[in-house]
Amino acid sequence: MSSDYEYSDNELYDEDEDEMMADEDDESASDMELDGFNDVPVKSKLKSYEVEHISLSQPQVEKLMKTDVDHISGIFGVDAEIASLLLRHFNWNKEKLIEKYMDNAAVVTTAAGITVPEKESSGSSSHRSSSSPSQSQTKILERITPPPAPNEPFVCPICCDDAPTATFNLICEHKFCTNCWNAYIESKIRTEAEHWITCMADGCSVVCPDSFIRTALKDDTSTWNRYQELLVRQFVSCNRNLKYCPYPSCTYTVSCPSGASKSALTTIIPIVTCGASASHKFCFGCNIDADHRPCICAVAKMWLQKCQDDSETANWIKSNTKECGKCQSTIEKNGGCNHMTCKKCKYEFCWVCMGPWSEHGTAWYSCNRYDEKASVDARDAQSQSRASLERYLHYYNRWANHEQSAKLSVEQHAKTERKMEEMQITSQLTWIEVQFMKKAVDEVFKCRMTLKWTYAMAYYLEKGNEKELFEDNQRDLERAVEELSELIESPIDPETISVLRQKVTDKAVYVQKRNEIVLEDTANGFQDGRWKWNVPVEGFD
């Protein structure tokens, strides 16, 4: 791929303002031109913990697709429809398509289901067609044959209707009635979410072009729209600079080139928001449908994994139980003396040294074998896993607490809101005057999410000055959030509401600032490589 070539390509489109942006190529992905979008707010000053991204609506992505299609259609001299099928067959990898197509167009179009494989083709004929692809193959994709001649009755092999009103066929000439095509295409799109629909005949790989699908669906526009959406989804999934919004039934795409490479994820946390709603927040790096700042993706993933799997259950078992020296049953000692008898195998042993009881003679309640090396090791291992469990629980409890509190504050707010609405009616207050709570609750929620993830991060941070500074910031934010939370829960009455409003508003501003400090400082720390981990983290050495 030469840059000269790309340049001329750009110039070509400069004439048409709308088409300006679309020339992005897979290799030098970071410099996507995005000037074409005027409805996207220009984010002039990004915070260090924010990442540049652009939300694209479905028509905007379709425009990108069209640019690629027109490009290929221009080079190969084929219809846009065929260019589109070729690109889809090659997962929108233009370079690969151009290379393969130039090499042997006949093989490519056959593999893509655009032309019918030549039966027992002699080597020479297939070679000939590759040299002049445009003319010999423009017969491709013809469709909709007239109803069969009356002298040869046609029976649709699928529904066995012997008098179908009309039949369709693709270039492979497998003829079926229009109703069957309609049902087939609809079920492919609706139930299988398939965008690559091949002929119904067994083993036939000829693909249905868009115009054919459009005709076969008749006036079923909702299925047609779904099909368009599937095409967009495929295009998006083939381009690493693009991601589809993971929220249910959202059709927006986000472009975030800086978050597209794996290596970037050690220094940035690409939390993006799609244009459909401010609440459609997700991580471009790991697709978690939540804001996991200030944790980077790899750490967030490790933490979630840890909380989810039963490694901590195993840890509890390790720290609180021992295994019978004979049958390996797990035993929890919940009282009594050190003379243990395994319930299962009746093995008698000493809880302290784990040795057989018979060797203990008359030392009934104390074990004089306590300091033998084996038991020292066992003891060390146990206290170590006990300490590690305690450590984990310290972080986990705080993590879970913030999650829980965030939920509760939202519930609390719903209650308060009802009360404030009542007050609007019973007192002189205006709607505006009772709205301050909403903003404060939103802020509390946001900060609790940050706090939550700071505990996940702190769990993996290596001890030292940096971690202490991090925890100082964490503590300041936590304190401020708790204070604001308390204010939000304070009783409301019309007399004191103006004082309360002042307090809440001031505190909310302060909390917002503290939150920014935490996020900014951690983000800068990732940029500077300041954070050190106490476990190996993907991407760090």
Binding site: I158, C159, C160, C180, A183, S187, T191, M200, G203
Partner: protein, 153 residues
């Protein structure tokens, strides 16, 4: 579309009545257009010599656009064949019953495919994940998303 599945199955049934079934395949029961039973036997030299199996076909109104639910019958008379793609509850992991289904296939063509699947078997054993699958399998095999293990058999 109920009319389509009925008309199509009527046609398939008429074909079976008029032209018979391929060797090794017999129609056991087809009283309605919802559930059919057929027996299947591998003729000639194979690991299943002398064994007779029964297949149960269930059709939705969307048939033949949607594939039929096909499984081996397991009751006091029939057993599921011991085969790497057949679970002990009779469920079959075959791509033509799922993603590779084509509406031009028919009951008989499915039987023939399964017959040749058995005939080409070289090792009589259950799928490796049999116990796990059977413990949690839905009643209708169509509700399972099979990952087709290999296309060779």
């Amino acid at each position: 579309m109920a009319a389509v599945s009925t008309r199509r199955l009527q046609k398939e049934l008429a074909d079976i009545k008029n032209h018979g079934t391929p060797t090794g395949i017999t129609l056991l029961k087809a009283d309605d257009f919802e559930t059919w039973y057929l027996t299947l036997e591998v003729l000639g030299e194979s690991l299943y010599k002398g064994e007779v199996f029964a297949l149960k076909f269930r059709f939705e109104p969307g048939y033949p656009i949607s594939s039929p639910a096909v499984q081996f019958v397991v009751d006091d008379k029939f057993r599921a064949p011991l085969h790497p793609h057949v679970y002990s509850n009779g469920h079959i992991c075959a791509s033509i019953l799922g993603t590779e289904w084509s509406p031009v296939l028919s009951v008989i063509s499915v039987c023939i495919t399964l017959q040749s699947m058995l005939a080409s078997c070289k090792d009589k054993k259950r799928p490796p994940d049999n116990d796990r699958y059977v413990a949690h399998a839905p009643e209708n095999p169509k509700k399972t998303q099979f990952v087709y293990h290999d296309d060779e058999v």
